[in-house]
Symmetry: C2
Subunit: 601 residues, 2 copies
């Protein structure tokens, strides 16, 4: 019998599981909440005071004595005296636990307890009285459940032990010793969390001894030479084993470049990187581990593996310590990847008893709906319009792209970095079309009138309609002639219809009512920049949800960082991946109906 323990600290909540009868203080310690307990859990020092909600046995006389009757009435208890007997909520005093807690994301705290840890041990010097082998000598200090991770490491033992005069630091992953270093290097341990997007890689270097972020580095995914979207890249890898290996080598080389940039500037030795955590869509995760993605591209869309993979970094040819561990987050299906799982993790929606909707818009739109009990997800092929692709003057969200468009006295726009306009990015496109709708330039069908038609109206923006190749174009920047074409509007209609229909189908299939959705999280680069009002205006987001929208930035990256800093978060990701029920939209008649309905503005 297992129960959920909700742990609240500094207003943030972490949920862990515990067995019936488990001691609450031990649970807190095992999840790295650094509760003081000088009496060793004997109920005599009163230091492990917590505020508790939920059914547990009555307070003991000890607790009444130490806490006083009033505190006990308010729900205070000694954690060491509480045995779990139901789902409970435990509030910790922030000051008590602060030492080992740090902020990983914007709104969550995780404890600092990474997958990989170091332990310095000073071994007995060999003698005729103590002839234990080098390995058994280490076991006698580290505990005899420790396993040899690899023969290469064993081979290095005699040299390292004697060079260090038997004062060594073991690098441990669970009970496996993955590396060994001379002397006491306990304080030197780095890790990198990586979000591999189809378009962009972002890598976060952390000191995982202190939990401090050292540097962030991003770059375009060089796999784009094999195709802009996952399907064309999978198609490329289907050609031959060599092509598949080439795809893998391309991402590995890029990662090694990023590792070099992250470390060299900060004089960090790549050998001191002992852990990497990866999130990304299922195809990116397949390319990373060089798995054949072929069967994800055809119905019924089958990945090779969706489970969490813990891999020796050496096997991935990453230029970090050979004994480092790479954790590849779990995926749900071919089109709900590790990035979505990580976004759900960092959003905290999987712990929320209210219904939340998470929308991550890229080439595909991943949508997750649910709460701390049920989670549903679907993926819709929105196409790359929101990323500025297939749009006549479209471009990514980089310097010089028009990112906001508005109408007050006249048409106004801004560009990223305040540079001269060179094109338009996704959020600018949504804004522009929203303005066109508001000002009556287009109606719900999205058709741009031609010059003659517009001349017969008294619309304030009439002068911005020009004709190109017989079709109307809505000009935003007159100098460069940057505007919105009829085809652009059709692309946007397709894209927003895909997302909107996905949301509606998910609502229908999950049985969760639109009105019962308390929060809408917009994740990813586009989600952070979008003007929510415009998104509602064009029908991307249902109007009822407008007030509930919150941008949560690179939620996938945050989820990866959480797992890098706290191994328990990786377990939570595994749990999330298992809990998410995937709704396949391909060939689903209700989705097609919704899609057609949503095409209109």
């Amino acid at each position: 019998m297992e129960y959920f323990i909700s742990i609240i600290i500094n207003g943030n909540k972490v949920q862990v599981k515990a067995k019936k009868g488990a001691n609450l203080l031990e649970i807190l310690h095992s999840h790295s909440f650094d509760m003081a307990s000088p009496c060793g859990g004997n109920g005599t020092c009163g230091k492990c005071k917590v505020k508790l909600k939920g059914a547990v046995a009555k307070p003991s006389g000890q607790e009444l004595d130490l806490l006083g009757i009033n505190a006990v009435k308010e729900g205070y208890r000694l954690a060491c005296r509480v045995l779990v007997d139901s789902d409970i909520e435990v509030e910790l005093d922030g000051r008590e636990a602060e030492a080992s807690i740090l902020t990983a994301g914007k709104s969550r705290t995780v404890s600092l307890s990474p997958l990989v840890r170091k332990k310095n041990v000073k071994l007995d010097i060999p003698s005729l009285e103590n002839q234990a082998s080098d390995f058994e000598r280490i076991l006698s200090s580290l505990g005899d459940t420790v396993e040899l991770n690899c023969i290469e490491l064993v081979r290095k033992l005699p040299g390292t032990l004697r060079k260090s005069q038997f004062d060594i630091t073991a690098v441990m992953y669970n009970n496996k010793m993955t590396a060994i270093e001379n002397g006491n290097t306990q304080d030197t341990l780095y890790g990198i969390a990586v979000d591999i997007g189809t378009t962009t890689l972002v890598a976060y270097l952390y000191d995982i001894c202190t939990g401090e972020r050292v540097k962030v580095q991003s770059m375009l995914n060089p796999q784009k030479t094999f195709g802009a979207d996952v399907l064309s890249r999978i198609d490329y890898t289907n050609g031959s084993d060599e092509a598949r290996k080439e795809m893998n080598k391309t991402i590995i080389n890029a990662l090694n470049d990023i590792i070099h940039e992250l470390t060299s500037e900060n004089s960090i030795i790549p050998d001191n990187i002992y852990e990497m955590v990866f999130v990304g869509n299922t195809t990116m995760m397949h390319f990373l581990t060089d798995l054949p993605a072929r069967y994800m591209a055809v119905s019924p869309f089958i990945p090779v593996v969706t489970a969490l993979q813990i891999i020796d970094a050496g096997k991935l040819n990453l230029n970090i310590n050979k004994g480092a561990i790479a954790a590849v987050y779990p995926c749900v299906s071919a089109y709900i990847g590790a990035d979505t799982v990580a976004a759900v993790l960092s959003s905290g929606m999987y712990l929320d008893d209210r219904n939340c909707l998470l929308i991550d818009i890229g080439t595909n739109g991943e949508i997750v709906l649910g709460n701390n009990e049920k989670l549903y997800a679907c993926s819709t092929a929105a196409g790359p319009a929101f990323e500025g692709a297939n749009i006549k003057y479209g471009m990514g969200g980089i310097h010089g792209s028009i990112d906001t468009v508005s109408y007050d006295q006249g048409l106004e726009y801004t560009t990223i970095g305040g540079k001269k306009a060179e094109g338009i990015c996704g959020s600018g496109l949504v804004d522009a079309v929203s303005v066109m709708l508001e000002q009556g330039v287009i109606d719900e069908t999205g058709r741009i009138p031609d010059e003659d038609e517009i001349a017969q109206t008294a619309l304030p923006l009439a002068d911005r309609i020009i004709e190109e190749e017989g079709k109307g174009v809505f000009v935003i920047d007159k100098n460069k002639g940057i505007g919105i074409t009829q085809k652009d509007i059709r692309e946007l209609q397709n894209a927003k219809a895909a997302i909107a229909a996905g949301i509606r189908t998910l609502i229908k299939r999950s049985g969760i009512k639109m009105d019962d959705i308390s929060r809408v999280y917009l994740a990813g680069g586009f989600g952070s920049h979008i003007n929510v009002k415009s998104a509602v205006k064009i029908g991307l987001i249902p109007a009822q949800l407008e007030e509930k929208v919150e941008s949560i930035g690179n939620a996938a990256g945050e989820g990866a960082i959480e797992g890098l800093l706290c191994a328990g978060m990786i377990d939570q990701a595994v749990d999330i991946a298992r809990r998410i029920k995937y709704i396949e939209l391909s060939g689903s008649p209700d989705f097609v109906d919704e899609y057609v309905n949503c095409m209109l503005f």
Copy 2:
């Protein structure tokens, strides 16, 4: 709390451990004793009848009903009704369990349950209703505790699953899937047990589905080019990493040759070999796994690892299935190796409540003394005299070597294979010196009289003394002039003194009295051929033990085979290695005293 369960079947005994309260039927099943239990352990069919000695709870009414009062009085019980509450002895009806039991050694039976097993599963075909990934699809059939052993294997999943139309056979090592094959190949599974001696390799190919021996193959250890003994070989590997790798490559190449010979003649595909088990002295085990043996050659004699090593065969570059498992038996110390542990295993002395002495004589003599509670071991540098080395006319135990020498009417001898004498092997040497002592040719000092001295006696063998380089030689074969020189006798005195002093020191240190030793096992090639009477005569074996001596052949090889066929035996080897207390003789004054005393005949 753990207890010992002694299981007797067909007069042989296997001992296993069990926790307090464990169900006896489940214990028997978990150790692959194929007890019938059609009622599913509900105490209603009466098929799991066993005869039991030891304290357990009183028989239930069900047992009285099913077995009858007389059977219960004789000790019969239903295994499914018995919970372990003390050490017990259980006798099984041979006919019941025979199916899964086979004879591995001369005197022991082990159940057939190798480390590696196969399981055929027919998977659901992927569909939009079942989009599980390839790996998760397998898990759903094999159980979700199954782990991916390696990314290379995962990479093969999509191809193999579709080629086999989702009918596959998984190769499992514990809960790790190490390989996957098309279709149902459950009945094809081979393994090889190898005894790597300093001088000779012996490899045993088994069908580990049926437990049948397919073939045995032996060859000289080609590492001899780097030195005849372990010290000179270690010295060679100390030169450079390349030299160490060369030593490793030499044994791996030899093993691959043996694998080729074992398989090709029997049309067995090396890819169907999924397990190899290795025993040998600690240095040979280090060379096998390419570990630096340097610190075993100098005091205080520290190996790199003595624990059981389970290694991917691919990492050892063995030409068998890439997913095969190599089990390298545990060692005790630098000079008590995995071969001695395996010999103790197959001798059964670790289960015997009487005191047993095991002597394995080679270049080193390993001596183990003890019982089912305590085990002591030492190693003495006997030198290679017993292997015919450093002896003027010495040679190994091969065709044409004089292997027995006796005196009745006159001097008689036999050769191996009945060929013309070409030299003398260890057992012949011991016999010859024994005859010389008996017939008064030499006295307890071992000095061979010169021709003049011998001429003054009336000894029957006087005519066999000739003089070479001013020293007496005792001629055995007059045609070829094969004889025993004074130096040969000194070599033998050193060798036998080392063994005899080892035995005496071990007796002294263990506190076990000579008179309390019930059995003496002679292991190894020399041990099998030696004439016990002669060995006693020259003082190699104490006279009190003469009647208790038994040759047990290649006990190390047998111990390896036991582990190949039954994973539980590998556990027992680990237990034996832990239990053996190693007595270091180097620099021990009591050993030096005994050694000097034992030099005389």
